[in-house]
């Protein structure tokens, strides 16, 4: 029985364990080995290897897919910190390819064009751990039920606008708080609404948080943004376009790392925010043609 459970879980403790090691850290999008070196030097805990940062994916249009394995391998060879890479929602063949390359985490990401409109990847089938985006508690729990070992807010990638990440984090927090007030029958109904087993809801209620690590992602562009998300209860920060679309990526990367560690220390935050150049320009959500956070369910 235990063995069966272990093989089904495919070492869930090892998968969530790596996410635990990333806590309090910043994971940075990089498109070259040189970027990866800048990220590592700034103090990133991991890098996300991809061909284009989200703001460029937005601009390019067309179908966005998994990156070229050659690029991912180059970045893996160039850095000693963990390397993540993205697959399209539901594209389990891309996941198999990334697993064979030995990437440390797979992001089943709405930033790429979805490959399946009905099924996300069954993540229990893999030895490599997965991180998935969410806009609220139900979505987070559906992904965890499918085997995700780490969750992040979807936010709105490539905009440099933190408002959606804040909305998603606050929604998760409010929905977790609401569980505490529910009777058993209300909890049953909520589980049906969320389309997850009621046991999972009971676990969240008991813990008062998600059962896996929850990072902020999608629109974080300044040290203050990182502090805001950490103070809202995130475990760490993903920065996509925010670093390499700023005017001084080296300074911005380091400042966001320092702000994530010292997120409660406003004096320190003021110090690290000083003279780091212009953040990425950013976009208003209302002006977007495509909302990436509406991909997936």
């Amino acid at each position: 029985m235990t063995e069966e459970l272990n093989s089904k879980n495919n070492g869930i403790k090892l998968k969530t364990g790596l996410a635990d090691m990333l806590k309090g850290g910043v994971i940075m999008d990089v498109v070259t080995a040189e970027h990866a070196a800048i990220a590592e030097k700034a103090g990133a805990v991991a890098v996300m290897a991809l061909e284009r940062v989200p703001s460029d994916i937005r601009q390019a249009g067309g179908v966005a897919r998994m990156s070229d394995p050659k690029l991912i391998k180059e970045i893996m060879a160039s850095t000693t910190i963990p390397v993540m890479a993205k697959i399209r929602i539901g594209h389990f063949a891309e996941a198999q390819i990334l697993e064979s390359l030995g990437v440390d985490y797979i992001d089943e990401s709405e930033v790429l064009t979805p490959a399946d409109e009905k099924y996300h990847v069954s993540k229990w089938d893999f030895k490599v751990p997965f991180v998935c985006g969410c806009t609220g508690l139900g979505e987070a729990l559906r992904r965890i039920h499918e085997g995700a070992a780490m969750i992040r807010t979807k936010g709105e990638a490539g905009t440099g606008n933190v408002v959606e990440a804040v909305r998603h984090m606050r929604t998760v927090n409010e929905e977790i708080a609401a569980l505490k007030e529910m009777s058993e029958s209300e909890l049953d109904t909520k589980a049906k609404e969320y389309r997850v087993p009621v046991e999972l809801l009971k676990k969240v209620r008991e813990l008062g948080r998600l059962p896996v690590v929850n990072f902020a992602a999608g629109g974080i562009a300044t040290p203050a943004d990182a502090s805001l998300m950490m103070q809202l209860g995130c475990d760490g920060i993903f920065v996509g376009s925010g670093i390499f679309k700023s005017s001084n990526p080296t300074a911005m990367a380091r400042a966001i790392v320092d702000a994530t560690t010292n997120y409660k220390d406003s004096k320190k935050l003021a110090e690290v925010s000083e003279g780091i150049g212009d953040p990425m320009k950013g976009q208003n959500i209302a002006d977007l043609d495509v909302k990436l956070s509406e991909r997936g369910w």
Partner: protein
Amino acid sequence: MVKVGVLALQGDFREHIWRLKALNVDAFEVRKIDELDAVDGLIIPGGESTTIGKLIRRNGLTDLLRRYHKPIWGTCAGAILLAKDIEDSDQFKLGLMNITIRRNDYGRQIDSFSQDIELNINDQRTSFNAIFIRAPRITKLGESVKSLAECNGDAVMVIEKNRLATTFHPELTDMNTVHKFFVELIVKQQNH
């Protein structure tokens, strides 16, 4: 009652604090000099060793930690930071223990594993489920260093006076054995 600090710059410091609280020990997050001064011993948690090293420097803790004489314990990334030598790396280190260590020597994340090992502490052998995540390997032990547990022939828990290193993560389990052992080290030092 002893006060145990957990370096809270990055990594799984929260899990260490939970384990200490399960033992009814006062546990504190340490990010600054005054917080470090206030505790009787320090745990450097798992995390990313290059990141934690940089943050130690940027938060002005380098000198204090390199001269640290109270009990100190590093898990995984923490063990790397305690080592005198890190093979093939010029990254920041504290160099407090006479060990040589090699990062990620068991492989990448897909090679992470857990295994039951035997801890040899206080003249007793205790079984422990050891979790290794992108773990480093201790490749050389100085003469004054004693191994307290092995896994497939590698030393995975070593002690040198009041300094302890584990390449696995006792904080990710619900077993308190190693945390209890470290707290006893602190108590012993205080009674001297």
